[in-house]
């Protein structure tokens, strides 16, 4: 179990003149629209409880207006909660004084913005160094560090340019470099890639994944794109009208959506590209290791299916069919199993995307064995199973 880095307890945010006065209405269970009509207050967040672990990429999803930006801005207190508590590494951020809050923002968290939020009057390198400048680090030192991060994000050579001279994707790389430059452990990214076109966007996702493998930051990433969420997130939280409707790993969201809202979200996702074999495979029918035909038949007696996957000392060899084995004359039962007895059938890796295994799975009527890189049999994937998952049927995990 990893350490909890951010913990949110009973968080409510109500926008308006007198937020607390609206709390009784919320307790009565009135909806966001009713409360807005009756009191003119907007309910931003409703009873949010969350824990974000150190080093994970936590994605927050939801439709426009569901409160994603409001939630993420509570973590560094750009917005104050109406009710509730936010603990960052055990520190209650509401208890921080003005100076402490500044220090907290300077060192603990950094943020990447949807529209980049770069300073148009400063060069790229000065933008990247901004966090260090605020900390009071001297010019040569901060520029040197900023230069390193610029190189890391692939913008070496652009240091003296101004943000307006860069493309959107390049500007967001500057935004990312600025966020990384302060070495803060927590990275807040509010729709950081939403303003970019699809190609650049997936490049940026790759870059983020690659950086995260090295840096192990705690990343809180907002998006309204499920493909992006599935790709980046260790866990995904789904917000609806200020309420948290589901939190869980991507597969769970995909395969067992908590309600219709989540289901509508996951409906259009390209599952073949989002799920791996591991996510959908069934337990294997049977693993056969006997050396003789008779031995194999004996082993397969206990199995329900009419086939088994044959392994010898060289590992997985192919599929053994009961039918074929039973058709050999009884005199040959003590013969060694040989290549004529089994059919060659490709094994697939548990980490392969469904997309990659579709052709092989469809090519045979028997389920394919799932074999991990140590040669162990992990499960099997049948074409019916594949069709069910890709056809959009949910499954309880």
């Amino acid at each position: 179990m990893r350490d909890t880095q951010i913990q949110v307890d009973g968080l409510y945010k109500i926008f308006g003149k007198d937020p607390i006065s609206v709390m009784p209405l919320i307790e009565q269970g009135k909806t966001k629209d009713e409360i807005l009509a009756e009191t003119g207050h907007t309910v931003g967040l409703l009873d949010i409880n969350l824990q974000i672990q150190k080093g994970e990429t936590f994605v927050i999803m939801g439709l426009s207006g569901s409160g994603k930006s409001t939630l993420i801005r509570h973590f560094n207190r750009l917005i104050d909660p109406s009710v509730g508590q936010i603990l960052v590494e055990g520190t209650d951020v509401m208890q921080l004084g003005k100076k402490e809050l500044q220090e907290f923002r300077r060192h603990k968290m950094s943020m990447v913005f949807q529209r980049f939020g770069l300073m148009p009057h400063w060069s790229v390198v000065d933008n990247v160094a901004y966090g260090l400048k605020v900390q009071g680090i001297d010019k040569t030192e901060r520029r040197a560090k900023a230069q390193e991060w610029l190189n890391t994000v692939g913008l070496g050579g652009y240091e003296e340019q101004y943000p307006s001279q860069l493309s959107g994707g390049q500007q967001q790389r500057v935004g990312l470099a600025r966020a990384l430059c302060t070495d803060a452990e927590i990275l807040l990214m509010d729709e950081a890639f939403s303003a970019l076109d699809p190609l650049i966007r997936s490049e940026m996702q790759d870059q983020l994944i690659e950086l995260q493998e090295k840096l192990h930051k705690t990343i809180i990433f907002i998006t309204h794109d499920l493909d992006e969420a599935l790709r980046l997130g260790d866990r995904i939280a789904i917000l609806k009208d200020g309420m948290l409707v589901q939190v869980g790993p991507p597969v769970e969201i995909l395969l067992s959506p908590a309600d219709d809202y989540v289901e509508a979200f996951v409906k259009d996702v390209n599952r073949a590209r989002a799920l791996t074999v591991d996510n959908v495979m069934k337990p294997p029918a049977y693993r056969v290791t006997a050396e003789t035909i008779g031995g194999a038949l004996k082993q397969m007696k206990n199995s329900t299916g009419d086939y088994g996957y044959y392994f010898n000392k060289d590992g997985y060899q192919g599929i053994l069919l009961k039918e074929t084995l039973e058709s050999v004359p009884p005199t040959s039962l003590d013969d060694q199993l040989n290549a004529e007895n089994w059919q060659v059938l490709p094994g697939i890796s548990p980490d392969a995307l469904l997309e990659e295994v579709i052709p092989d799975t469809l090519a045979t009527e028997y389920p394919l064995p799932v074999i991990d890189d140590k040669g162990g049999l992990k499960g099997e994937l049948s074409r019916d199973c594949l069709a069910d998952v890709l056809g959009g049927k949910s499954r309880s995990v």
């Binding site: 750009l78 907290f104 923002r105 943020m111 939020g117 966090g131 943000p163």
Partner: protein
């Protein structure tokens, strides 16, 4: 029932009010006039010194420095040559000294307006309450005929440079205040949020983000302020401010058309020079902020 006459205040009462206020103010100025004058003494000495400096310096030196400043700020040869020619023209028609006097007072008034106006604008931008109080005051300052507030100023300080400067500043300061306020309020919210998110203090926010990003708007305000100060030159001359305004005033009373026109044109030339130079400077200073407007 329906009287033709408006039910106005009794004449006697009105008179009493007038007398009361007038004598009250007169007493106030008698009691504190000297003190206030002493308060402004350093400014007066500076005004005199600066005017004398411009007058005593050889004309070619002043001209060289002026053109040098314009070129340094704008990097525009065209503009610099234009400035050079206008001042030659002004001097050739015998208006050099008055132009120097006007330029000295306008420069001082502009500097005072900026020095007071930008901080006031900043305060206004930071607090809606301050904005609520200051905005109507600015409206009054801009619409009240200058002659009306000249009266108490002259009663208090007599005729001369200081009351002139005060009158000009009152008239010219509103744009720089208004546009500083506006500019700061219009700064891109996301850029400010970025500042906050990285832990900028309020001073770092102001100096690093708000002021630089509102500079185009503030520069527009300063430009307006300069123009308005220049347009006060004639009125200021009525309370003893020497310069291009005085001959204009003289020509009105004596119906010297040509003299009025020439001095008027000199004021226009000064205005154009100030305007173009400050605008070109502003543009050059903001050349990297192109992305800001379309962001």
């Amino acid at each position: 029932m329906f009287d033709a006459k408006f039910p106005s205040m009794d004449r006697a009462d009105l008179l009493a009010i007038r007398k009361g206020l007038d004598s009250g103010y007169r007493e106030f100025s008698r009691a504190y006039g000297d003190m206030i004058e002493t308060f402004f003494d350093p400014l007066l000495s500076f005004l005199i010194w600066f005017e004398q400096l411009l007058l005593d310096a050889p004309w070619w030196l002043v001209l060289t420095i002026l053109v040098g400043i314009v070129y340094g700020a704008t990097r525009s040869w065209k503009l610099s040559v234009g400035v050079f020619l206008s001042f030659l023209w002004v001097g050739y028609f015998g208006m050099w000294e008055n132009t120097m006097r006007t330029m000295s007072i306008i420069t001082v008034c502009t500097v005072i307006s900026i020095a007071l106006g930008i901080p006031i604008g900043i305060l206004m931008a930071r607090s809606d309450r301050v904005q609520m109080v200051v905005t109507p005051l600015l409206d009054v300052m801009q619409t009240m005929p200058a002659f009306v507030y000249l009266i108490p100023v002259v009663m208090l300080l007599g005729i001369g440079k200081i009351p002139g400067v005060i009158a000009v500043v009152i008239y010219a300061i509103p744009p720089v205040i208004r546009l500083t306020n506006l500019g700061i309020r219009l700064v891109d919210k996301e850029v400010l949020e970025a500042g906050d998110a990285y832990g900028a203090s309020s001073v770092q926010r102001l100096v690093g983000i708000q002021l630089p990003l509102s500079m185009p708007t503030i520069m527009a305000g300063i430009n307006q302020t300069i123009m308005m100060a220049l347009s006060m030159v004639v009125i200021a001359s009525m309370i003893g401010v020497k310069g291009l305004g005085q001959p204009v005033l003289k020509s009105i009373t004596n119906q010297y058309f040509t003299m009025g026109l020439l001095n008027g044109l000199a004021i226009v030339a000064l205005a154009i020079v100030f305007d173009r130079a400050s605008q070109a400077y502003a543009k050059r200073a903001q050349r990297h902020m192109g992305g800001l407007e379309n962001a």
